[in-house]
């Protein structure tokens, strides 16, 4: 089956809800695993990588939880399809760029996604909307135990699960969440917050992970240490920090509204103005404006508008998603025009933002 038909539409993705999804866009748990007796993908010859792919794909086929999933080598996917997966946060940019022996396994609900021959032989991820780290871990732990019956993992009692990079050795776990933090950005507290989160041994990254910009005020927070602590301990620590960040963000929003409401309304009103009226808009600007509009929705400034409107657009305006709506190959300039057209069209029925309504839900 074609990937485009397999992927659920953006409208469906945007309507998924989870606990704390006002601020936590998604939760993710990733495990790194390697097969005993094979060089790591970065050092392996092509033949070894292909053999690893066959082994992992074979094991995947044996696992009932992955029945009916999409399983393909990356070289069978077009550059556009690979980019779609990146924009959905299902595979890394590095994985999309390197095709030989690489593979992807994805279930229909987009809750499980496996990368084969990324930096490690197998990187499996469990994804959930909102803050659901425990649920994501439980599902992935179970999947890992099932796969383990069909694959011989490289493991040492001293160092745990052996990974290509020693920064991932041990549990091989990375627990992360994607946070929307416009309040902390507008109140200029974000840098101090990032620094203190870093001091706890946690990483803060941009929208697409390592070394990327925090487009649309979206930040990814994750653990960095994987050795010397159990999965449970790592997860609980991150969960605690995330709950604190949620509180900081809510406080930042509340205090902005109290102390400097005009500044906030100005940002949101201008964002709406640009989105509703622009005829040319780049994805970066569009994402940043949509972030502010999402904040406006959260604050009750757009009565009757659901968060799924901004969340769907946030996905649809990204280059590969936009391109996939059009048959002919688009140049960047054409994309900027079509992006603006789409956003204007979607916002036609959305009225200008008013002052926040003291409606239920606007407080938290």
């Amino acid at each position: 089956m074609e990937l485009k038909e397999f992927l659920p539409p953006a409208s469906e993705v945007a309507r998924r809800t989870g606990p704390q999804d006002r601020i936590v866009l998604s939760s993710r748990v990733r495990l790194a695993r390697n097969l005993k007796g094979f060089p790591f993908p970065g050092w392996a010859k092509r033949a070894d990588r292909l053999q690893v792919y066959e082994k992992v794909a074979g094991a995947v086929a044996e696992v009932p939880a992955l029945a009916g999933c999409f399983c393909e080598t990356l070289d069978k996917l077009s550059a556009l399809e690979r980019q779609l997966l990146v924009e959905r946060h299902l595979i890394s940019r590095e994985h999309a760029a390197r095709t030989s022996g690489g593979g992807v396994v994805l279930n229909r609900q987009e809750t499980l996604c496996l990368m084969i021959n990324e930096e490690d032989h197998l990187r499996m991820q469990s994804l959930r909307p909102g803050l659901q780290l425990r649920e994501a871990w439980a599902e992935l732990d179970a999947l890992d135990s099932l796969l383990e019956e069909h694959l011989e993992y490289a493991f040492s009692p001293e160092y745990g699960y052996l990974t290509a990079c020693p920064t991932n050795v041990g549990t091989g776990i990375r627990v992360s969440a994607m946070l929307h933090l416009p309040g902390l950005v507008l109140s200029e507290q974000i840098n101090a917050i990032i620094q203190s989160v870093n001091k706890l041994g946690l990483a803060v990254r941009g929208l697409y992970g390592e070394g990327t910009e925090a487009l649309g005020n979206v930040f990814q927070v994750s653990n960095q240490m994987t050795l010397g602590e159990s999965e449970q301990t790592i997860l609980e620590k991150l969960d605690k920090v995330l709950r604190q960040l949620i509180e900081f963000e809510e406080n930042a929003r509340a205090s902005l509204i109290e102390k400097n409401p005009k500044m906030v309304y100005n940002h949101i009103g201008r964002a709406y103005g640009i989105l509703a009226n622009a005829h040319i808009i780049a994805s970066k600007e569009a994402m940043n404006m949509l972030s502010l509009m999402r904040l406006g929705v959260d604050l009750g400034m757009f009565p009757g508008v659901d968060r799924s409107l901004t969340d769907e657009l946030f996905l649809l305006i990204q280059p590969a998603h936009l391109q996939s709506l059009h048959a002919e190959k688009l140049q960047a300039e054409e994309r900027d025009i079509l992006r603006a057209d789409m956003i204007r069209e979607r916002l036609r029925s959305v009225s200008r933002p008013g002052p926040p309504l003291p409606a239920p839900g606007s407080g938290g």
């Binding site: 160092y159 050795v169 602590e229």
Partner: protein
């Protein structure tokens, strides 16, 4: 204070990096700092430097021609230093010397705690790990590192629970 790399010139560049609750310090002379790329704040990490440091000490007893290579995949120490990644799972064995020092700069501990594949889930193994954790706990208490001690206590509890219920984790 002398430079901790060349141990000759006066150290004028002082570096501190905090990872988690651990602090690492390096004192370098200007020349060594430059040669290690310390002037470039983006590409610099103490872990790299410490790794290079342990490597330079190692080369002394070892003749240059006999560079250590992994017998399983042919990966060399020099490649590891360049790439920061290993060639194959066996490399952890091959390059075990100095590995703990490197891992210490990256992680909470240098021994695995957490999930273990079924094949390795022998009772003996768990007991050994338990013993090791208890030793670590004693050390943490001695060092008055109570935060770490509390964490270790939790890990020990989890491990003990696993010992009483054979298959769970």
């Amino acid at each position: 204070m002398k430079c901790c790399l060349c141990k000759e010139r006066e150290a004028t560049v002082h570096l501190t990096q905090i990872v988690g609750d651990k602090m690492q310090k390096l004192d370098l002379c200007e020349e060594c700092a430059r040669s290690k790329g310390v002037n470039d704040p983006t590409g610099f990490s103490l872990a790299d430097l410490l790794l290079g440091l342990s490597g330079s000490q190692e080369t002394e007893p070892r003749p240059r021609s006999g560079e250590l290579r992994c017998p399983h995949c042919g990966f060399s120490q020099a490649e590891f230093k360049k790439l920061g990644r290993f060639g194959c799972p066996e490399c952890y064995q091959t390059f075990a010397e100095g590995l703990d020092d490197l891992l210490k700069t990256m992680h909470k501990g240098v021994r695995h705690v957490g999930k273990v594949p079924k094949a390795y889930r022998g009772v003996e193994d768990l007991k050994r790990r338990l013993q090791r954790l208890q030793q670590e706990l004693a050390r943490a208490v001695q060092e008055e590192n109570f935060e770490r001690a509390a964490e270790l206590r939790d890990e020990i509890k989890q491990l003990q629970a696993r010992l009483t219920t054979p298959r769970g984790h």
